[in-house]
Symmetry: C2
Subunit: 331 residues, 2 copies
DNA sequence: CTGGTGCATGTTTACGTGAACATGCTATCG
DNA sequence: CGATAGCATGTTCACGTAAACATGCACCAG
């Protein structure tokens, strides 16, 4: 900066003013400074800026894994929204979801150069992590667990799961079977609860729940079991990948979808509309979730006020495709 | 830091030494300082550290989009490898792939607090971006275009596409049709070239190529065309999503896979093994690509020496599943 | 017993920036 | 015509850290 100032024949403070777009600089001087800047290839030093201002213009994101479609879409939305406000994203993937590792990640993150943190919880494991973000550091959580000490934004899991279940009941199916996500996931738990509640309210006995781990393989394994039982005519899988696995199992044993069995997923992956048959599923608005989380966070960063503990639920949409059909009473 | 020093009755320099794990501090003093640190809730200030040391311990990643499975896996691998070395990832997603936007992203990135940059090119668009990374800033590119001024790491597209094509020829198919990726993608171009070359070397006339845009929908549209033509018995799609779209089209018109037509994809998504039928595809080792890129980058950061212009190709593996079968001569 | 050696610790300083305050010039008004 | 306001620009300083150098003490060899 000093070099630029010397080169342009001004003080370094004037260079700073030009660099930050302050108004009280004469146009001629501004031009001269800008010329010197580009001639000398001047780049403002982020570290010094951050040190002086106390702001890094970056948002930290902590996620268990990037390899689920939902997390990816969320991350993209977070990044987009942050970019609009001139913030970048600092990413700290937690490699192995062990308690020790998580707290390690947290600790590292808490020292990171970020102005705020978005945490995408995915399981109860995160709860027990010894995480103490620096005092005054804004935090927003994307998760289904309302018992968090921070504001929460999430998809309305209950509403989505109820819509899926109701759709199948309305097609005349006597009951709906559920392939759930893992026990340590709040989303999975909420979806399963809503499924059971919807059945209960319709006066239907709740069939035993099958628990998977979100993977297509786990869906496939449970699908093979379900396909044995010819009383099964409607299945709600807690995500599209497991729904895909279930469909594969039914294909293999030669039972027709949706002729013999109707299947609904959850997520609405880009591919889901091209599965065979195209999958009826619950569309999650990941973009909206990410956007809201960042907006909440940025508001808190700007005002320097702590965010009120709140819970925002983003509604889902049921997308009806070809994997569900009216129940055909078997003779 | 001064507070900690006062509280522990030492100088701030000693606190700094403890904080950085230097060896020449007496054990007793170290304990005292550590106690004071945790009592006062001391957190080292990254900005000041970066300002003093000139290192941010962060790697910048620039990507067009996060929403392709490949980019996501690559990003995850980059993050993992960086984390092992104590580096975090600063992400700058390019929202809209317009020329203006790209250069904006670049410029912003070049001012970011990063020690090095990994660029994941995805199309020719990136070429024209006016990108001048700060002098001395290490850059590694993940792309198929060797004409870049930086070291390049990528999947061996040619080898993979040749393996896919050869596999179909070895099954006895008279020729192989190709649903390619978009023209502005180097990977797509290389895959298409390799497909044509493999056919050419086998003395087979190269059928017209169908160009998609990576999406399942584009695969579906081309699939509907291909399904009309009963001479088509083998299709190589440039990615799994388009392969999925093609399969959907063939299902819809009632042509059997792999009985009537064999299909091969490229990528090996997690879901591909559960498609119906499970998809034969070319497995890309995204993790290895990301890992190598980071290793190259970190080596350059550590030694402060520019990276030699180089080109590293990571081999693929053909995963044979149920979507391909021996050619059945139609009577 | 003395000069030197090695180690723990303290003191000084600079990294690049921008807020706060200071300066000096010009325009305006009573 | 002089006082004063307003604006462009300059000067000083502190943000938190760690390298470089300085100090002081204990121990050891000659």
């Amino acid at each position: 900066m000093a070099d630029v100032a010397r080169h342009a024949g001004v003080s370094s403070q004037t260079v700073s003013r030009v660099s930050n777009g302050h108004s009280n600089v004469e146009e001629l001087t501004r031009q001269r400074v800008l010329a010197s800047m580009s001639e000398l290839g001047y780049r403002p030093n982020r570290a010094a800026r951050a040190l002086r201002s106390g702001k890094f213009r970056s948002i930290g994101v902590i996620m268990f894994t990037l390899s689920t479609a939902g997390n990816m879409s969320t991350l993209e939305a977070i990044g987009r929204e942050a970019a609009l406000a001139g913030y970048s994203i600092t990413l700290l993937p937690v490699v192995a979801p062990t308690a020790g590792d998580v707290s390690g990640a947290y600790n590292r993150l808490s020292e990171q150069a970020v102005d705020g943190i978005v945490i995408v919880y995915e399981s109860h494991l995160m709860e027990h992590a010894a995480f103490t973000p620096p005092t005054g550091m804004p935090v927003v959580v994307i998760d289904s667990n309302p018992d968090v000490a921070y504001p929460v934004v999430d998809t309305d899991q209950q509403q989505g799961a109820r819509a899926a279940t109701r759709h199948l009941l309305e097609l005349g199916h006597p009951t709906v079977h559920h392939v759930a996500g893992p026990a340590n996931s709040f989303s999975a738990t909420h979806r399963a609860e809503a499924w059971a509640a919807e059945l209960g309210e319709a006066g239907i006995r709740v069939p035993p729940m099958l628990m998977g781990d979100w993977s297509t393989d786990s869906g496939y394994r449970h699908g093979l079991d379900l396909a044995q039982n010819h009383d099964v005519t409607a299945i709600f899988a807690a995500n599209d990948q497991m729904a895909l696995g279930v469909m594969r199992a039914f294909h293999e044993v030669g039972r027709d979808i949706p002729g013999d069995v109707s299947i609904v997923g959850f997520d609405d992956l880009e591919e889901s509309s091209s599965f065979w048959p195209p999958l009826t599923t619950v569309h999650q608005n990941f973009a909206q979730v990410g956007r809201l989380a960042v907006q909440l966070l940025l508001a808190s960063i700007d005002t320097a006020e702590p965010i009120a503990r709140s819970s925002t639920l983003v509604p889902t949409t049921l997308v009806v495709r070809a994997s569900t059909a009216l129940h055909r009473a078997t003779p």
